[in-house]
């Protein structure tokens, strides 16, 4: 989608046709037989993050969200497609200046911080290597960063083990912000934290975004968090983006059957559906090693038709819903087909 069809201004970070695969199985056998088994974690994804925008990426585990995030941040090269920043295509090996502009916060603050370095040591190293501030101001800058994320200045001389999970996540955010990025990619930043602590980190992210004008790409499986924090949502399924829309529109009028199922599967405090009825989506996601031909969701789709087995639907929009695209043949059809029973539910690995 582009700015012309209702996007939030010119794209800052954009992926075009990005694919990332992992070789699996024996490498020797692959060389002998001249064929390599590839797991396509991300399979031709177009995505744009606007300046100052908060975009959410949601989907089940194994849908490729985290791999896409690694590709966008330059931590993992894309096999195909290109990633551009401010309209400029980035080379496979990014310069330090480009790396600085896209930073990541990881899920587990217990394993993503170096246990042998003090918080101050971590920040000072970054600030020196990337020449963010003149040498004389490095110490001062690291204290400023800690204050920015709500940690006391004394934290500079502490080690990660002296902090709780929530505080560690603040340190991880300070580390990402040290390089003054334009885009912050947060991969499940609160799912390792207790409920009462999650709120502090979510509020911090929201505050930093408006204070610093950051663009935020939030990867989460928690749709309540997404609805709270993001302007737009992209739904991913088996390596593809299947629907993108402004948050309230996606939650109010989802067009893809997968999004509808995902929304119906959320446990709610109020308005709970009958607890014993049929599940929102049956079956497990297929293995990414054997992606179904045609539409990849058809094996679990309640409205799958004959056509879905042959034609792979592309992301497409409609005039009546600007900024809303979905990869389903019937997304914007006036009368979507009724339940078909063509889905092969119970289709396991």
């Amino acid at each position: 989608m582009t700015a012309a069809d209702g996007g939030p201004g010119p794209a800052l970070l954009a992926a075009r046709g990005v694919s990332v695969s992992f070789p699996v199985g024996s490498q020797l056998a692959a060389r002998l037989r001249h064929e390599e088994r590839l797991l396509r974690a991300v399979d031709g994804v177009d995505l744009e993050v606007g300046r100052g925008e908060a975009l959410a990426l949601v989907g089940e585990s194994g849908s490729g969200k985290s791999t896409l995030a690694l590709a966008l941040s330059g931590l993992r090269p894309a096999d195909k497609g290109e990633i551009s920043l401010d309209g400029r295509t980035l080379p496979a090996r990014r310069s330090n200046a480009d790396r600085r502009r896209v930073q990541m916060v990881f899920q587990d603050p217990y394993s993503s911080l170096n246990p042998r370095m003090t918080i101050g040591g971590m920040l000072r190293e970054l600030l020196r290597v990337h020449h963010v501030v003149p040498r004389g101001q490095v110490v001062q800058e690291s204290t400023r960063l800690l204050t920015l994320v709500g940690l006391p200045a004394e934290a500079v001389s502490a080690y990660p083990r002296q902090f709780s999970g929530g505080q560690r996540q603040r340190v991880a955010i300070a580390r990402a912000l040290a390089l003054r990025p334009d885009v912050l990619i947060a991969d499940e930043p609160v799912s390792a934290l207790d409920v009462s602590v999650q709120a502090t980190i979510l509020n911090l992210l929201a505050g930093l975004r408006s204070e610093l004008g950051l663009s935020l790409l939030l990867i989460s499986h928690n749709l309540a968090v997404v609805r709270h924090l993001c302007d737009r949502v992209a739904v991913m399924y088996l390596g593809r983006i299947v629907e993108v829309a402004p948050t309230e529109e996606l939650f109010g009028a989802p067009r893809h059957p997968y999004t509808r199922g995902l929304l119906a599967a959320i446990p709610r405090l109020v308005h709970n559906a009958s607890a014993t009825g049929a599940p929102a989506i049956a079956g497990d996601p297929p293995s990414p090693l054997r992606i179904p031909a045609g539409c990849r969701f058809r094996t679990r789709c309640p409205i799958a038709q004959q056509r879905c087995e042959k034609e792979d639907p592309q992301l497409a929009g409609a005039a009546q819903a600007p900024g809303h695209v979905a990869a389903c043949h019937f997304a914007f059809a006036p009368a979507p087909p009724a339940a078909s029973g063509l889905a092969r539910t119970g289709d396991q690995r």
């Binding site: 709270h228 405090l269 109020v270």
Partner: protein, 352 residues
């Protein structure tokens, strides 16, 4: 007492005070853990009961004592932990003073557990069919062939496709959701009266969680088994439980029907939990975190354990013990000033 097999009538009550239809009664349970830094008061005077066919949610954050309570019920506490006081009555029979052999006989067929991580709870080198058949062989005295038949039937009931073939599969050949279905089949294999669940869906995707919760709810309704469901996820409790008990710092702070407690909390901690979690149906401008951090259970604060973090704390909260008080409507709260929660909620509503 006798360890009846099969569908059990409510047993002969030990003190004659267990109300009819109560399967499990926990009275003033205390669990202490010895550690280098001192004795951890992990569970400190917890009381609740579970009626036949009822699902009770036990919620709290990490370190609140909810998992320790559950492990004490099943008698699988870690080596350093022991029950120092209190009673756990299963059909009126106290489980606390029993030896391991007695426990196996009494509790084996009546109580089962579903763990959070099926991959570490299942035996990786045993075919899943035989893992399901093990309980009926040991506790119900079924022959190997009959037990295998029962396992196949259970696999069908929990929705494992192609059970005849998958009987001989190993746990690693299953997806996360399918492994949790195997766990459920094992838990149901002896027709238990009560199933204990420790965050059974936390490791699963939301779509698979939805499948598992619905399956559990349906199977419990069909078999009449009760559930004790430990989780930190309030919407999950709202979906599957009828009653909820909220734990904080090793104690119960509030108890009541799910709709009452979660939508209209009568304890500042419950109120804090509800307000700090983003709610899918109600988007607020900003979330309200609970300030401070959970108390040390080695030297818990005097008086109400929540008072250092409580917005409504007064002088008496710092000194008086705060046991759970029964209130009209079948609700109970440990808060001395729970009216303040009602006033604050009314003020919130007026503002909205």
């Amino acid at each position: 007492m006798s360890a009846e097999l099969g569908p059990a009538a409510p047993g002969p009550a030990a003190g004659g005070v267990t109300p009819a239809g109560t399967v499990l009664e926990v009275r003033d349970l205390h669990v202490r853990i010895a550690s280098r830094l001192g004795t951890v008061r992990a569970v400190d005077g917890v009381s609740f009961d579970v009626a036949a066919g009822e699902a009770l949610g036990l919620v709290g954050e990490s370190g609140s004592g909810k998992s320790m309570t559950l492990r004490a019920l099943l008698g699988v506490l870690p080596a350093e932990a022991r029950v120092t006081a209190g009673e756990i009555l299963l059909d009126g029979v106290d489980l606390v003073p029993r030896t391991q052999a007695e426990l196996n006989r009494i509790r084996g067929p009546k109580m089962s557990m579903i763990f959070q991580e099926p991959m570490s709870a299942l035996n990786p080198v045993m075919r899943v069919g035989w893992q399901i058949a093990e309980g009926p062989q040991v506790h119900l005295g079924l022959s190997r062939a009959r037990a295998a038949e029962r396992a196949l039937e259970l696999m069908r009931r929990v929705g494992i496709p192609d059970p005849d073939r998958r009987f001989r599969a190993y746990p690693h050949e299953f997806s996360g959701g399918m492994r949790q279905r195997v766990m459920i089949a094992i838990a149901l294999s002896c027709d238990p009266e009560i199933i204990l669940c420790d965050e059974p869906t936390t490791a699963l995707d939301v779509t698979i969680q939805d499948q598992i919760l619905r399956l559990l709810a349906r199977l419990c309704r069909e078999s009449g088994a009760s559930l004790v469901f430990v989780t930190h996820d309030l919407p999950v409790v709202a979906q599957i439980c009828q009653r909820v008990a909220v734990m904080y710092g090793g104690q119960l702070v509030e108890r009541g029907a799910v709709g009452d407690v979660l939508l209209d909390p009568w304890h500042p901690y419950t109120r804090g939990l509800v307000r700090s979690a983003p709610d899918f149906d109600y988007v607020r401008d900003s979330l309200v975190p609970i300030p401070g951090s959970p108390p040390s259970l080695i030297t818990p604060p005097p008086g109400c354990r929540f008072h250092p973090r409580c917005e409504f704390a007064e002088a008496d909260c710092r000194v008086s013990e705060t046991p759970l008080r029964l209130l009209p409507g079948g609700r109970a709260t440990a808060c001395l000033h729970y009216e303040r929660c009602l006033e604050a909620a009314a003020a919130d509503r007026a503002q909205a």
